[in-house]
Amino acid sequence: MKICLAYLLPLLLSGILFPATGSCQEKFTLSGYVRDKDNGEELIGATIYAEEVSQGTATNRYGFYSLTLPAGTYTIMWQFLGYEPLREKIVLDKNIRKDVELTLQEKNIQEVIVKKENTDQLLRSTEMGMERISAQEIKKLPVLMGEQDILKSIQLLPGISAVNEGSSGLYVRGGNSSQNLILLDEAPVYNASHLLGFFSIFNSDAINSVKIMKGFVSPSYGGRLSSVLDVKMKEGNNKKFSGSGGLGLVSSRLLLEGPYAKQRGSFMVAGRRTYADLFLKMVPDTNINRNSLYFYDFNAKANYRIGKKDRVYLSGYFGRDVFKFRDLFGIDWGNQTLTARWNHLFSNRLFLNSSLIYSNYNYNFNLKNGDASFALHSYIRNLNWKEDLQFYASGRSTFRFGLKSNYHLFLPGKAASTGDFPVNDVQMEKRHAWENAVYLSHEWKATPDISVRYGLRFATFTLLGPLHVYSFDTLGNTTDTTWYSRNQNIITYPVLDPRFLINIRTSPTSSLKFSFTGMHQFLHLLSNTTSGTPLDLWVPSSPHVKPETSLQVSGGYFFLLHQAMFEASVEVYYKKMDHQIDYKNGANIFLNEEVESQLVFGRGEAYGAEFLFRKNKGRLHGWISYTLSRSLRHFPAINNGKTYPAKQDRIHDLALVGIYDLNRRWSFSATWVYYTGNAVTFPSGKYIFENTYINYFTERNGYRTPPYHRLDLNASLGPKKKRKWQSSWDFSIYNVYARKNAYSITFRTKENEPQITEAVKLYLFSIVPTVTYNFKF
């Protein structure tokens, strides 16, 4: 690590000391926003490229770009995936502010001649291990139960796999699902699933863009080991008032958006609710019709432009799942986020974003039995202040720097009972923590063929009183208790994350990239479940629980074929993880003040090769994604200290995605996925205890469930042209050949024949057809 820092610092310093002063020639800046022509939405990651000098930049997450070049005349190209590129001659003899609007591409009915510039973003960009999926593509893919879901769509890309059948939970490059930083308009989301993972909390109507970073992670992000999933809500149409929505078999949604204050601002509100429970009510069986099970969510956002240099945003998300089983028990849970932001242009080269963010996840659990009742309540909240600055030093050099201060508050559990419920009231101690970070990164085009991006993130995590801190012996027995008073520093972990990426253009149609990324994680999810249940327990780092760490190195080769008709990439990675957490056998984490005594610690490693082959153009387009990977764990206290496969160890993971645009209205798509069965622990024998058989286990995760595979089909009928009310239909079939993929395999004694033991497979879905009606006005 010392070596890389020694390399980094001079690079960094040289960039700071000599920004854009390489030549005496006068320089000017072209800057502005790139937006969608129809609805005024900012396009994030759109590229701006000066052809004469082969220099370019990309819009930031607010749609802003800035390109500083020597005075001269340039052919500038603005482009964005799925949009018609815009090319214009610009005489750069003064600073120019130019906001441009791009038009959505019509369907490619005829084969278009692909210009080189149109797709070689892949080769130029200083991103790696980054996946973005376009909204147009997502809309054409088959879906389960009529809900488009970005989290399920990105599972079709290499290195990203589903936690389980139908699940929106993600395993990224061998990490577990709690090691992904999920941001919705910059606010952290602690539980991104509805209905135990069958839906994600992201209403696809309300989402502008999704980006997942699984390899190189920009130093402006930190706090999770595996990946960053950055989701941005729509700003709202600032051209005209409009709406869209859909009616599905299990849920419906509606979105309204429009401009206000003479187009100085725009707003968006979107809502969604499932109604499976309404069908339950129609069932005459009183055992069923008194149950309820639904979720809803609500997104709202507004922005307002104050002059040309300032813009303010306010956005929020509110979602809730509710589940009631007769009058006996109920549980409800959900996330709330609120983000206030201010974008300010100090100059056409210095961009500031200030954010104030509040995020809350909580759940309530109630049991009732006559007069006796029991209620459990828990939350995790945080308040977050962020300053992010971007300095566009020159056409070849961009600096990003900023700071973040994040206050966490956890209530692990509070239980109260009434009547003769035999449980004492318990109020667990709240956990207080303060996380701070500063970062600096530099993106530098060293030569026309070599670009680098490097930086550092320095973060501290402090656990604060009031709190009783327990010490444990090796067996987990409490040996000592220390009391810390309010705001007293219990422990501070300072950490340094280096990030580095180099992109070498090896030919006009290929490039080679190499990166390494260090990450730390301070909040740990205690859950040995796979499905993201509402009763998740997050614990902060403490004297006993060290921050999780990872260091990933990766390399990749990216190339275009047949005049950019096809693009392909191969990436390999190796990731080392430390201070990983698991439970002891039979751990008690329920309302346990000394929960840390129930944990064991170890290390892990993950490595793999990812192949992606994409056809972006033509009537038939789509991709093939294949991942060959391993994810292993080593815990002294598990599996007799022998290395074992993590549950997310998927050796082969293949996805085929094909979309065929028949004509302007009809398009068809098919996806086929195949992956190695989960690593699971099966018995290697049995023995008798009293009068029942008990399974005998010899190794952790030593077996595999059968391979998973599934074919889905979709047909979309688009709207007729030039109508005010545009309706479209989606017909999907999930699991076309009705494979009974194992959700779980259990072992039990046969009913009425206690002498016989048998294996039983539980499968959730057979063939599931759905139809969804969508509208837009």
């Binding site: 135990l196 339950l280 040995n528 029942t692 952790r700 030593g702 077996y703 039990r748 294996a759 039983v760």
Partner: protein
């Protein structure tokens, strides 16, 4: 608890299904399994010694013969157990006393196995009651037992409850500790074991020590007759026996009560 939610969700919303399948499983080397109990009720007490067998093997588990088995208390008394039938070793010469610590010693072909267990004072059953439950996919319709007892305050208590239908022992393992209910009157609906009117139900409230509790708790997680989902990683229960044996030795004190179930709704 999480598992129950998952199953409820799936069955309410989706058409989940079960299917018996064949999964190829390794065969492990046989391991020794020891199960023994001393109680505050007069014996004979029994120690059973068997070995593990292949999962799909339909024959009874192999007994272990010719073992040397004896129990000692903390006053230096010892009692030898004799093999009554293959794998079963008995002794009727003593009665366990609450407050004493007992240890089990087993020798099988030059290998020694040892466990120690403390017999806590018994906790008496206040009363038994019955409740009717209409039944769901997850639980049979029928009468369920409600157990009332009072947890002694200011001590850590661990319990196991055993249910019998007549003299037939049930297979569900109920264990609990008093972490959240120290000193409280306790009422427990013993879910999972349905009775019919006219049945005689015997309820045994066993006071156990922490290690026996840990054994039974971790055992109930992998009980072959209880449904285990993908929700946790199964592992062998924590035993109090040395020498890499499976099973346990427990000194338990128990109190018993009986209820005859009647028609009521």
């Amino acid at each position: 608890m999480k598992k129950i939610f998952a199953i409820l969700f799936f069955t309410l919303l989706f058409t989940s299904c079960e299917e018996v399948i064949y999964v190829p499983l390794n065969s492990a080397d046989p391991a020794i399994v020891i199960e023994g109990q001393v109680t505050n009720y007069p014996g004979p007490y029994q120690v059973r010694i068997t070995t593990t067998t292949d999962f799909y093997d339909p024959s009874t588990v192999p007994p272990v013969n010719n073992a040397t088995v004896y129990v000692e208390d903390d006053l230096g008394h010892s009692w030898y157990f004799t093999e009554q039938r293959p794998g079963y070793y008995n002794n009727d010469q003593f009665t366990g006393e609450p407050g004493r610590t007992y240890s089990l010693n087993v020798k099988v072909k030059d290998r020694f196995y040892h466990a120690t267990s403390y017999m806590p004072p018994p906790v008496s059953i206040d009363s038994l009651d019955q409740g009717y439950f209409a039944g769901t996919r997850f639980a049979d319709a029928g009468y369920y037992i409600i157990l009332y007892f009072t947890d002694p305050p200011d001590t850590t208590n661990y319990y196991r409850i055993r249910l019998y239908k007549g003299d037939q022992a049930g297979t569900v393992i109920y264990v609990l500790d008093d972490q959240l209910m120290d000193g409280n009157p306790v009422n427990l609906l013993l879910f999972g074991s349905a009775y019919e009117a006219g049945d005689t139900a015997v309820v045994e409230l066993q006071s156990i020590d922490e290690k026996v509790y840990r054994f039974l708790l971790t055992l109930s997680n992998v009980n072959a007759s209880s449904p285990s989902g993908p929700e946790y990683t199964p592992a062998n229960p924590e035993t109090n026996l040395s020498g890499e044996a499976l099973g346990y030795f427990g000194a338990v004190s128990l109190s018993r009560d009986t209820i005859i179930l009647t028609h009521s709704k």
